[in-house]
Symmetry: C2
Subunit: 157 residues, 2 copies
DNA sequence: ACAAGGATTTAGAATTATTCTAAATAGAAC
DNA sequence: GTTCTATTTAGAATAATTCTAAATCCTTGT
C-alpha cells in the first residue's frame, strides 16, 4: 500500500468515524495539502485541485477544508479572520481571546520568556515581531463553581 | 496639565517628528483608544469617534489608525489579515512568516516551552489553543555574508 | 495678506476572502 | 427502487479593508 492510499484510508476512517462521507472532493483536497507542504491558501488549493478535478468549485474547497479541520487532519495557520483590533499597550505582551465573550485580554509576557521564544528559531531566521495568542474561555464552569464554593465558605455578599 | 492634554502633546510630538500633522481626527482617534482599553476594532472606534466628531469618515479612521501604528503609538493585535493558510503538520509548532518571500515555515515548539507559555495565564484563563507566530526575514544580508565566508573557508561548492 | 503646493479628509467604489443560499446530485438505508 | 440525508455547485451576499478622485486644510514663500 503506497503512502497516498494509506492517507486516503486514514482520511476515510476519520470521516466515517465522524459520520461524514469520504468523497472524491475531500480526498483530492487532502491530497494536495499533503503533497506540497507550503501552507497554501484556499485559493491556491483550489487552483491545484482544479488540475485534477476541473469541475470542483471554490465553495467545495472551503467546505472540504472546514471538514478536514474539524476532523483534525489539517490545521489552519491563520485563525485570525476576525477584524483587526487596536491596543495602546506598547509593552511586550500576549493576548487572550475569550471565545465566550469575544473579548481580548492582555497577558504579561516576561522579557526572558520572549528571549527564550526567539531562541527557538533556527539560525538564519530573524524575527522582527513575535506574536503570542491564546484562545479559550475565561472562568470555565469548573472555575466558576469553585469560585462559588469559595464565596459560600467565606460568607461573602 | 491633565492626562488627555499630555497624551495629545505626546501624539503631536510623535507626528511632527515623523513629518506628519497633528490633526483633530488623529487626536480623537487616539483619545478613544486610550479611553477604553478593550481592543476595539476599526468599526467600534469609528462608532465611538463619531459621537464626538459626527462628520468623520470610516476611511479617515483607517487612515488615522495606520498613522498611529506607524508612529508606534498603538499596536494592532490582529496582524493576520492575509488569507488563512492550511497545513498538515499536526504536531505542536509555531510559524515563521517570511516578509520577504511571503512563505510560511514551521518552527518546532517543544512541549515544555508550550507548558511554560500556558503557565503565563492568570488563574481562571483556560486556553484551548496557543498560537505562536514570528514575522521577519530569513537569511538576512549579514547572515548570507557569514554563510558565504564559511563556505569559502571550508572550500565548499 | 495671498498664492502654490503638499498633506489630509471624505464619500463612495472596488477588492478580497469567505460564507450563504438554493437548487442539483449523489449515496446510503430501508 | 424510493426516500432521506449529505454533499456539491454556482452565484449572490457579506464584511473588512483599501483605493480613487475630488474637496479641504495647512504651511510656506513672497
Amino acid at each position: 500500500m503506497n503512502s497516498t492510499a494509506k492517507n486516503c484510508a486514514a482520511l476515510a476512517k476519520r470521516l466515517t468515524d465522524s459520520g461524514l462521507r469520504p468523497t472524491p472532493q475531500r480526498e483530492v483536497v487532502f491530497k494536495v495539502i499533503l503533497e506540497k507542504r507550503d501552507h497554501p491558501t484556499a485559493d491556491e488549493i483550489f487552483a491545484r485541485v482544479k488540475s485534477q478535478m476541473p469541475t470542483i468549485s471554490l465553495a467545495t474547497v472551503y467546505n472540504c477544508l472546514e471538514t478536514l479541520v474539524q476532523c483534525g487532519l489539517v490545521r489552519q495557520v491563520n485563525l485570525e479572520r476576525a477584524p483587526t483590533r487596536y491596543c495602546p499597550n506598547l509593552h511586550e505582551h500576549a493576548h487572550f481571546h475569550d471565545d465566550a465573550t469575544g473579548q481580548v485580554h492582555d497577558i504579561n509576557l516576561p522579557a526572558d520568556t520572549l528571549k527564550q521564544l526567539r531562541s527557538l528559531l533556527p539560525p538564519g531566521f530573524d524575527a522582527s515581531t513575535v506574536e503570542l495568542a491564546f484562545r479559550g474561555s475565561k472562568g470555565s464552569a469548573r472555575a466558576k463553581l469553585a469560585e462559588g464554593r469559595a464565596a459560600a465558605r467565606s460568607g461573602a455578599n
